[in-house]
């Protein structure tokens, strides 16, 4: 059996989770400081990918990254590589789709964070970076963790935008979700079932891990 789709799915989900982790936290932190009107507008814009159909996201991404589009052709001429139809093209799709989950949960966590704790750190002589990484992040840990897990799960399950931006090439861009679709389309029900079971198993293990982590964290308090 060819395990490439499993490896590729995990790889894409992991890379996009790391990207989304930092982007989402940074955005949540930055937007919290903006004036209300700008905050509301940006909030809508950044959350939009959550409610848009993935095919719409895919189409918009192709508009930006496609080989005949400005960015795509520029990268092609400078770096000699396409932005679409490679395994890492899927990362573009999963990042955009998973970003709102990380951003929104991080924002919620930061908003409920007691600002006095940060101010206490500052008056005690500690740097902004120390306050953020040693106080704010640990205090918002639960929310951040939830956002990260949701982003990873969403990245792992991404199909629509991924199939448009990365396509389906066995051994090159295939992920679990695109493989299931391909096997179903070619009437290979047994093959499809195998990947369906694998997908269910991964998701179940994942959710179990979150539950365990949460109960342990609660007990630690």
């Amino acid at each position: 059996m060819d395990w490439y789709p499993l490896m590729n799915s995990l790889r894409v989900a992991a890379v996009s989770t790391v990207v989304v982790f930092f982007l989402g936290i940074r955005a949540a932190q930055w937007i919290a400081k903006l004036p209300p009107l700008l905050k509301g507008t940006l909030d809508v814009a950044l959350t939009l990918p959550l409610v848009l159909p993935p095919t719409v996201v895919g189409w918009l991404l192709l508009l930006l990254l496609g080989p005949r589009r400005p960015l795509g052709s520029w990268v092609q001429s400078v770096f000699g590589t396409r932005l679409v139809m490679t395994w890492w093209s899927a990362v573009f799709a999963t990042v955009v789709v998973a970003f709102p989950l990380m951003y929104r949960t991080a924002r919620g966590a930061f908003e409920s964070f007691d600002k006095n704790l940060a101010d206490a750190g500052r008056t005690l002589g500690r740097s902004e970076a120390w306050v953020f990484w040693r106080v704010q992040m640990p205090c918002c840990g639960q929310g951040i963790l939830a956002g990260t897990v949701l982003a990873f799960a969403r990245g792992l399950g991404e199909y629509g935008a991924t199939s448009m931006v990365a396509g389906y090439t066995p051994g090159r861009t295939a992920t679990i979700s695109t493989t299931v679709y391909q096997l179903w389309r070619t009437n290979d029900d047994a093959g499809a079932l195998r990947w369906v079971l694998i997908n269910i198993a991964i998701s179940a293990v994942f959710l179990l891990a979150i539950n365990l982590l949460e109960t342990r964290q609660r007990a630690g308090r």
Binding site: L117, R122, T123, L124, P138, C139
Partner: protein, 356 residues
């Protein structure tokens, strides 16, 4: 002792009013006394560098912390000002030891300083615990140890006991006094509680609707408060409009003329009378007038009696008298009685300068 350790002169627009605070503190405990929402906490935050004033200047120990004209605005990290937050703001993800050591600026002395403070504040037993597992007293001690670890030049206390019940408050106040007695620099104590201020500070700056009054001695605040707001904060309950008449004042709301025993300045327009200084009298006499009893309220140790002077037009404020329970029980006639106000107990307030 230096004449001035901390000088503050700042303005900040707070939306509903403009904060205009100006005071100078020595190496002393200076109280900022004001009703909630008057801007005293904002002032404290401006000194600490957590909030930024619109204009003005803050100088501590000869170092300019903020100066809008010279575009100086030191970050809180470099102000060396210790801030005791209302709920202490201990880092919940760290142990007592970690909370304290996080504040030691000199890395090479971190271990040693932390150990010394843990011993000094008797936190040995709880050093490994998190703030959520501590009693109120331990939390306060941890917060104070943490502040002292950062070697502050001034301490800012933001209503330290506002959220506590009175017994715990009493104990924590005693502990805090011990710490403050040993502290060399300036202490700014923000409070709305006159008792707390009276027990802990010698001088006070009253803040009313964002405006600071000149710093005064506490005895002055209680005996001769300069403004109605100051009198209110010092616990005075009765106020009425006044018209100066030589050595007397006429109080139209009660239709009374009372002697003040001294010339009354023309600018006087209000009087204040403390409820404890409203005293029952045997019969008619100087500054004595008959009142009807409107209501009697039993407090824990005193009786509060609401009175209406007999000649008062309807709709005026009631006169509040507070006296010992025994003294009230000793009065035979409890529906109508004569009240005497000693001329010395009449607080006179002049028209206030408001340049807005």
């Amino acid at each position: 002792m230096r004449d001035t350790a901390l000088s503050v002169d700042i303005q900040k627009n707070l939306g509903k009013f403009r904060l205009q605070v100006q005071f100078e503190a020595r190496d002393e405990r200076l109280a900022l006394l004001g009703a909630s929402g008057c801007g005293k906490s904002v002032t404290l935050r401006c000194v600490a560098g957590i909030l930024r004033p619109d204009e003005g200047k803050i100088v501590l120990d000869g170092v300019t912390l903020f100066d809008s004209a010279a575009k100086i605005d030191l970050p809180p990290q470099r102000r060396h000002v210790g801030y005791l937050f209302q709920q202490y703001a201990l880092f919940p993800n760290m142990t007592v030891r970690q909370n304290i050591s996080a504040a030691v600026r000199d890395r090479s002395a971190r271990e040693e300083t932390t150990n010394r403070l843990i011993r000094q504040f008797q936190l040995e037993q709880s050093a490994g615990r998190r703030p959520g597992q501590l009693s109120g007293g331990q939390q306060q001690r941890t917060a104070l140890a943490r502040i002292l670890a950062s070697e502050p030049k001034a301490l800012l206390l933001d209503e330290p006991f506002s959220a506590l019940d009175s017994y715990l408050k009493y104990q924590l106040e005693l502990e805090l006094m011990d710490v403050l007695d040993r502290f060399q620099g300036t202490v700014l104590w923000v409070s709305h509680d006159r008792g707390e201020v009276f027990r802990n500070c010698r001088r006070v700056c009253v803040v009313d609707q964002g405006r600071s009054c000149p710093v005064q001695a506490l005895s002055q605040l209680f005996h001769t408060p300069s403004t109605e707001a100051a009198a209110r904060l010092s616990g005075c309950k009765n106020f009425a409009d006044a018209v100066p008449q030589g050595e007397n004042v006429f109080l139209p709301e009660w239709n009374l003329t009372l002697s003040c025993g001294r010339p009354v300045p023309d600018r006087v327009e209000r009087v204040g009378i403390r409820a404890h200084f409203v005293r029952p009298a045997e019969g008619p006499g100087e500054n004595t007038f008959p009142c009807g009893v409107i209501r009697v309220i039993e407090d824990a140790f005193t009786t509060i009696v609401l009175l209406r002077p007999e000649d008062a037009p309807s709709g005026g404020p009631l006169l509040r008298m507070e006296l010992e329970k025994m003294a009230w029980r000793a009065i035979p006639e409890q529906e109508r009685l004569y009240i005497r106000i000693d001329p010395r107990d009449l607080l006179l307030f002049e028209k206030e300068w408001r340049d807005d």
